[in-house]
């Protein structure tokens, strides 16, 4: 087992260990807290629809990673929910584009809860009957998202942006695609992606790191490490179409504007992510001239937000919100990007935003779930928990300006959800 301890001058430290099975473990002790938060995850999400192991290429139905997440809660000796019910812990799971995570939070019986987590994630049990039962429940989850305008506006935008990349498909798949899932396919995906060498455990809270490490080491079954090749077709630099719209029962239009980015290496580095987060705040954060203009002219409200959306093989800067004139908002954002490119970044604003982000990074350490979630990013992207704070101390306005120049106004997609009565 390889083990490293990281310290920071804000008074926090954590352990990162890599087990002989390849499993990565991150632990931050918070002895003064009542609660703890633990995540057992795998680098496997909705975008892993085509892969190859030892030359054996497999294409699986859309939504299978999420389906597998639901089914893993059932083991031969009962379901995980029932086991957690005996300890009182809160448990849950989620699947995103590039990861699946199983988690619990508790204020008592941590080691018992960790045993349950370690055990059920490592004990797949799928049968024809249990798969069929789940199709009904997930079918309703998909239908619920069909009515969710915030979800639809985002996925419509991604469909307008990506020709080939599977980030364009809904995480849960469709009622039709999940109908093709069976127990054998689930086992195949499980055996590929739930290998310890592709997995991580992230823990923060009132725990004893030594005891936790021993417990994990004793429980995680060693498996032959495998090389997974994720097969993605080449994605053109251009967007599919610059404008997409759909009508739903909403009160006012909802929009999502995305800038598609050119992908040179599959994953974005921490520096790229933090620089982009700074850039987005400078361009459109609530202290920016653009935000002031859009609010004052009645074009956006408090729902307005922006993010750097990125993962394996995809990256986009996204602005979203509600507006009675989404086209005008998109024009204003694009014009602002070009204005700042021409005039440069306001140095005072840069310094204030950097200060704000620095404070937020420190504030994050107040929350055990925040730390555990951040560890997941560390595991998936191979970064350190204190890297953001360190980088924020050294990043310059020129770094942000250079980043700005990469935003290409010719490669944008505007997605709009319109109220039903509008033509």
């Amino acid at each position: 087992m390889k083990r490293e301890i990281f310290h920071s001058d804000i008074g926090e430290s954590y352990i990162k260990a890599t087990l002989s099975s390849g499993l990565k473990v991150y632990i931050l002790e918070k002895p003064q807290y009542n609660s703890s938060y633990a995540i057992f995850g795998t680098k496997y999400g909705s975008i892993d629809t085509c892969f190859s192991v030892n030359g054996d290429k497999t294409r699986v139905p859309e939504g299978i990673a999420h389906f597998l997440e639901h089914k893993l809660f059932e083991s031969e000796d009962g379901d995980a929910f029932a086991k957690y019910a005996k300890t009182g812990a809160y448990c849950n799971a989620f699947t995103s584009f590039d990861r699946t995570c199983y988690l619990f939070s508790c204020s008592d019986k941590f080691y018992e809860n960790l045993d349950i987590l370690l055990s059920f994630v490592q004990s797949p049990y799928f049968t024809k009957e249990t798969v069929e039962k789940e199709q009904g429940i997930i079918g309703q989850e998909i239908r619920m998202y069909d009515d969710n305008p915030g979800w639809r506006v985002m996925f419509n935008m991604l469909k307008g942006m990506y020709h080939k990349h599977p980030v364009r498909i809904d995480i849960a798949g469709t009622v039709e695609s999940i109908a093709q899932i069976d127990d054998q396919l689930l086992y195949k995906c499980y055996n590929t992606f739930y290998n310890p060498s592709n997995m991580f455990i992230c823990i923060a809270g009132n725990v004893d790191a030594e005891r936790v490490l021993k417990q994990i080491k004793d429980s995680v079954k060693p498996k032959d490490s495998i090389e997974i090749e994720r097969i993605n077709e080449d994605e053109p630099e251009e967007v599919v179409k610059p404008y997409v719209s759909q009508k739903l029962a909403v009160a006012q239009p909802i929009f999502c504007l995305g800038y598609k980015e050119k992908i040179e290496t599959p994953e974005r580095t921490l520096k790229e992510k933090v620089t982009t987060a700074l850039l987005i705040e400078i361009l459109a954060g609530d202290a920016s001239p653009l935000y002031k203009k859009l609010i004052t002219e009645g074009l956006i409200n408090d729902e307005f937000s922006s993010e750097y959306f990125n993962g394996n093989g995809y990256a986009a800067v996204i602005f979203e919100g509600e507006s009675n004139d989404p086209e005008r908002v998109a024009e204003e954002i694009k014009a602002e990007v070009e204005r700042v490119k021409a005039e440069g970044i306001d140095k005072k604003l840069f310094s204030a935003i950097r200060c704000g982000m620095y404070g937020n990074a420190i504030r994050m350490f107040d929350s055990v779930d925040g730390i555990a979630m951040q560890f997941v990013d560390c595991a998936v992207c191979d970064t350190g928990l204190f890297d953001e704070i360190k980088y924020l101390r050294s990043v310059t306005v020129d770094d942000v300006y250079r980043r700005l120049l990469k935003l290409d106004g010719e490669k944008t997609v505007l997605s709009v959800i319109k109220p039903m009565e509008e033509a």
């Binding site: 204020s107 008592d108 504030r363």
Partner: protein, 425 residues
Amino acid sequence: MSVKNVTLSSGVEGLFIENQRFNTTLISFNFYMPLEKKRVAANALLPFILTSCSKAYPDFSRLNYKLNKLYGARLDASAEKNGDYQLLKMNISVINDRFSIDGESLIKQATDLLLGLIFEPNTENGAFLDTDLEREKRKAIEHIKGEFSEKRIYAKNRLIEEMYRGKVYGIPKCGTVSDVEAITGQSLYEAWEHLLKTAFVRVHVVGAALPAGLFEEVSDRFAKIERLDVVNCKGSRVTEFALEPYKVTECDDIAQGKLCMGFSCEMSGNDDESLPMMVMSDIFGGGPYSRLFANVREKMSLCYYCTASCIRQKGLLIVESGVEAQNCEKAQKEILNQLEIVKKGEFSDFEFESSIKSICDSLNTYNDSLTSLNNWYAIKINNTKLYSPSDIAEKIKKITKQDVIDAANGVNLHTVYKLVPKEVD
């Protein structure tokens, strides 16, 4: 963790929730007003306009710039219903001074900023300025209309509206669009003065230390205001519903139907008496061990969610589910069947014990979150004693199966609200 409660002025309390574990300190002003149709919209607009600008920061953009300079201090406003009262909150949270690179006092600056926003708004000649007023009114109206877009929330709000038709609790928390439209710069100024004169106020500090001079400053500020007819938050009227139970079905352009059922519970909203209801609601439709999850979702595969929640101040139990329109009747029948099972005490020891453990485990995590602690104490206004989350956990542990059965037997269906796709109806 310790909690200290001091009286600062007539109807103004200071609550210091001392907790050493955080990097952050939170200061929260909580104003309590009676829910009244004629005042609800103006009251609800106040936290938002007050936290958007002030005499010192007439431009909201400069205010946001200042918050960034204070290491990302967060300013939050909200207007909620707390039983028959309106709870208007304005908070600021900021990282502790020891993290400031050049040694400036962040907490002092944040506290002064919040006091300035609440007590020195950007007004002229007894009125809020038109630009600020119109901006905040527009946002409030868009927010009210926007609830229609979130069908789960919309369905729940419609249920409450129907169930409490003609009653105080049926008033929407931010008023209606026309209530907001009617607000003028003068009427809002009058509402602000009325708030400072009559609201019951509690100032919370959650963090390692009480900011020096804060409570004294609050005392001085209120000493200068003529505090008349201060609101007495004695308690809300429980089991007060519209006379006739309703069955309401509405259509919308949606894929999935929403079923919302409102039940009346015979109980008091008091912490000492309503806890069995909290456990009953959890066994019925709380965690994954609950009757509704295990049966309506897992066994019958009818839905993704089917949950029960209890608003104890009002003796109200709500069941929410997202189901296909053709399965609505089936789901409703099963929900009522599960309620009968709980009433008869035919739930297992496993379900009972799981519920007690889950509630207690969750209550004991509250001390690890500034926001959870702030919210916990903010709604504890109708109780004679300020119980901490761990006090309540201890009380929950003493609840028996018979207490739960008794609570369940006071539960009666009142109103059913359904939102269904157009083509099915």
